[in-house]
């Protein structure tokens, strides 16, 4: 299965999404990420029990913060899938890349002069 997905994503592996802390997500945005996706096992299928459910709650809190500080909660998304869903994985990356391209660069990168609006057309 040689699935293609946009090279714009950087994958950070964690043992379980339960490990993903609010600060990890906020720091990603502080460092200028245009979007962040948390990908966990299907709900009910977390190997550690409920890591993905905690991650969802933390993600929702971060979305709320991003909305209030003017970065935009829609830049953070969480998906649940299994390791056997490679096709869906590639599809999600494509969808999110398109969505983030539509949103444009993160206001953090724009404000710090690291990106300008509007940005180039997407090729996915």
């Amino acid at each position: 299965m040689r699935l293609q997905y946009p090279p714009s994503v950087r994958i950070i592996e964690v043992p379980c999404t339960g490990k993903v802390d609010i600060m990890h997500l906020l720091m990603a945005f502080e460092y200028g990420a245009d979007g962040v996706i948390v990908m966990g096992c299907l709900e009910g299928d977390c190997h550690y029990g409920a890591g993905n459910l905690y991650a969802k709650k933390r993600g929702n809190r971060v979305k709320e913060i991003l909305d209030k500080v003017g970065v935009g909660g829609e830049r953070l998304a969480m998906y649940n899938l299994t390791s056997g869903m490679g096709g869906r994985f590639a599809e999600i990356i494509r969808e999110i890349t398109e969505k983030v391209m539509e949103l444009g660069p993160s206001p953090i990168r724009v404000a710090t002069g690291k990106a300008v609006r509007p940005i180039a057309e997407v090729t996915t």
Partner: protein, 222 residues
Amino acid sequence: MIKAVPKPLEEVLDLVKDFTKVLIVGCDGCVTVCEAGGSKEAKVLASALRLYFTQAGKQAQIDETSLTRQCEKEYLAQLSDKMDAYDAVVSLACGCGVQYMAEMYNNKIIYPGVDTCFLGVNEERGLYAERCQACGRCILAETGGVCPIARCSKRMLNGPCGGSDQGKCEISKDVPCGWELIYERLKTLGQLDRFEKPVDPKDWTTSRDGGPRTIVREDLRI
């Protein structure tokens, strides 16, 4: 012990938006336990403020730190060499900590970052409930270890009232009747005769009616 909730972020943003150097100070005491104002919350708030200022195109320095307790001078003094570098400070301690910091750093703008709510317990993670109103003369010995001041909505001393319905208080079906709890506990302890003698009016002079309270312990003072 003291339970608090983080202030809504927009409220804090509104307080600090015109400053450029802001220090967030967490408290490692009570507010850490209810996850409202410990070092972790200080980090989250500082990050949120940095994102806010950065996206607004404003150069700002937002730092965070945390103290063992903010209700003691010795710990507050640890900030002394830092304070000058900031225009404003957001304290995530309870109202006592915020005020004590403001007293010590008299010329500094100190804002509260949490809403202090009550004296309570951790029923579960994320679920905190009031248990005591610090009345200054504890009567738990007479009430089966259940406080009628904190847990009866009317603070009655000879309850329950006519609004007690199947163990619930008339203010809400979700609120247990404090006096039902007292009754059940006294029954368990075999002390139901407690209900046969009315309780004398409570001495409220130790409570808030006399203005701000102080405790003087000559045996401890140096």
